[in-house]
């Protein structure tokens, strides 16, 4: 694949405030819809990504990538960008005969990473989304789809002090600006420490 096609929406923009905001490189993302109760569906996910179906609002991560719960009939599969084609093919083959949908959405999304002190990262997010970001309510392994100010977004915390955010590519600049302004030095809240 040529270099031009691998360009992300903001070419890896970053900003440093009391929390660092950066756009991550191309991330393989596959939307997978189907019947979670069907044994064939779970088996297909296991076969293609090596992970069991995540529980409600959870994201599970393994060697082959991550699988996130998006709705009662939708998963988001995260794999390396260059593995997307192969994973889609594997899923399609494993889902033969199932009522399911596999779609490569890698280039339709933008992917951000916030890093800093855990409390500060939570404060930055709490300014933007109507979600309880206390460590007890939103910890490692949890994922939420919600809104970031005026646009839809999904986010999870892969480790302490890090938040990863996915939004639609068309609103990448807006989301980056939102996160940057929210993380600007002088805007510390100190609510989560």
């Amino acid at each position: 694949m040529s270099e031009a096609l691998l360009k992300t929406a903001l070419s890896g923009a970053s900003s440093d405030g009391f929390v660092r905001v950066e756009e991550l490189g191309p991330q393989g993302m596959i939307t997978l819809r189907g019947d979670f109760d069907s044994a064939g569906f779970a088996a297909a996910v296991k076969k293609a990504v090596g992970l069991a179906l995540p529980k409600q609002r959870k994201i599970s991560t393994g060697k082959g990538g991550s699988v996130a719960w998006m709705s009662p009939d939708e998963l988001l599969v995260l794999v390396d960008y260059d593995q997307v084609g192969a994973t889609v093919a594997k899923l399609n083959a494993a889902l033969e005969g199932e009522h399911a949908l596999v779609a490569d959405v890698s280039d339709a999304r933008a992917f951000f990473r916030l890093s800093g002190a855990d409390g500060a990262v939570r404060d930055v997010m709490a300014k933007l989304a109507p979600v309880d970001f206390s460590p007890a309510a939103f910890g490692k392994g949890d994922i939420r789809r919600s809104r970031l100010a005026q646009v839809a977004g999904a986010f999870w915390t892969p480790e302490e002090g890090v938040m990863q955010v996915i939004c639609f590519r068309s609103v990448a600049q807006y989301t980056f600006d939102l996160l940057s302004v929210s993380a600007e030095t002088g805007g510390e809240v100190g609510h989560f420490g």
């Binding site: 409600q56 609002r57 998006m70 709705s71 009662p72 939708e74 109507p130 939420r144 789809r145 919600s146 809104r147 839809a152």
Partner: protein, 113 residues
């Protein structure tokens, strides 16, 4: 601020994450129906002061539609339930009867307790 529990993703979502979808349990009258039925389907809506049933969509979330029962007067939320039903579950109706004895909504009637 209205906070509704989404029965599909289990989130207590606040109003800004949701989208209101109007009155619940409408029966569609399309081609072949009488003018009165069609008019009723299109235009006649409940406007209660008290118990009301509505459709909501968890638009900034799991994207699913669900039903909510609430009081338009006090904004108290009695509960939310699946979209795949034709009327509120009996359990929820009983719960409303306990709080608003004798409530009525369209052809639904709560008990007087």
């Amino acid at each position: 601020m209205l906070i509704l529990h989404c029965p599909y993703c289990g989130v207590d979502a606040e109003e800004t994450e949701l989208h209101a979808g109007g009155e619940a349990h409408l029966k569609r009258f399309g081609p072949g129906s009488s003018d009165e039925e069609f008019e009723g389907y299109l235009f006649h809506r409940e406007n209660p002061k008290g118990v009301h049933f509505e459709r909501w969509r968890h638009v900034n979330g799991c994207g699913k539609w669900f039903h909510a029962a609430r009081c338009t007067n006090t904004l108290e939320v009695f509960g939310t339930y699946s979209a795949q039903v034709f009327e509120p579950p009996q359990e929820l109706q009983d719960k409303i009867s306990a709080k608003r004895p004798g409530w009525e909504w369209r052809d639904l009637k709560g008990s007087d307790q």
